[in-house]
Subunit: 140 residues, 2 copies
């Protein structure tokens, strides 16, 4: 079952500069900032109710976020939706004809199970499905 | 104060087709579908925790969503953030140098007070601030 918007991934060139808007002008609280080596990003997680905004600054221009910035510029890169059973959610999406980037759940940042759906299936929005352990929150 | 992600506005060519993914494959519940004349869209609101996804289909190609589809294609058009005091949120954003599309709150769909922040200030993300009456939820 769908639980919530887990987080929104926003590609930025500089977290420091982006915090000038998201933290200082908008007033959001920074939960933490971390480097996620496997995704080649530094990420700042900001709290918005039950959701998070993830500001993602590339640590390597050849990574996915680095390439996104080069071709699309700064902006929203993915929408992560929290589910309680990722295997079941993927099975249902596949059965209804959705094109999956990840056929099976894989382990993402913070130990969560994640899988991406291809934006061709989701009308231009890159969707990440996330299953977290009880009590845990967005961690990159 | 920031309360939650109120809704995500997703521009689509056809709500009927998009529901094949968002309702049928992803499993979201449709709260309601309505035509919002002043925005020149038909909108389907789907429930995701305390937030909504708003699928927006243009009723006129000359409207904002129609133009977005023509230049950018289908995908996420805006992120709406719920606040408890829109006047105060706008004053803080202005004071910290953010560029506002709406200098003052205006009445949006469902009677909510809304104001947009220019994506040049918010690092490529078009942000709508929304203040709703007590107990009301996203209504377009």
């Amino acid at each position: 079952m769908i639980q919530r918007i887990d987080h929104l991934g926003i590609a930025v060139r500089s977290i420091d500069q982006a915090l000038g808007f998201y933290r200082d002008a908008l007033g959001l609280t920074v939960d933490h900032i971390e480097t996620i080596e496997e995704q080649k990003v530094k990420a700042a997680m900001l709290v918005v109710g039950e959701s998070r905004l993830e500001l993602m600054e590339p640590t390597d221009p050849a990574g996915a976020v680095g390439k996104f910035l080069e071709t699309r510029g700064e902006g929203l890169q993915h929408v992560a939706i929290g589910v309680d059973d990722l295997e079941a959610a993927l099975a249902q999406a596949r059965e209804r004809g959705a094109r999956l980037i990840d056929e099976k759940p894989r382990v993402g940042a913070g130990g969560a199970l994640v899988a991406f759906i291809h934006p061709k299936s989701s009308f231009g929005v890159l969707i990440e499905l996330v299953q977290r352990g009880k009590g845990s929150v967005a961690h990159g």
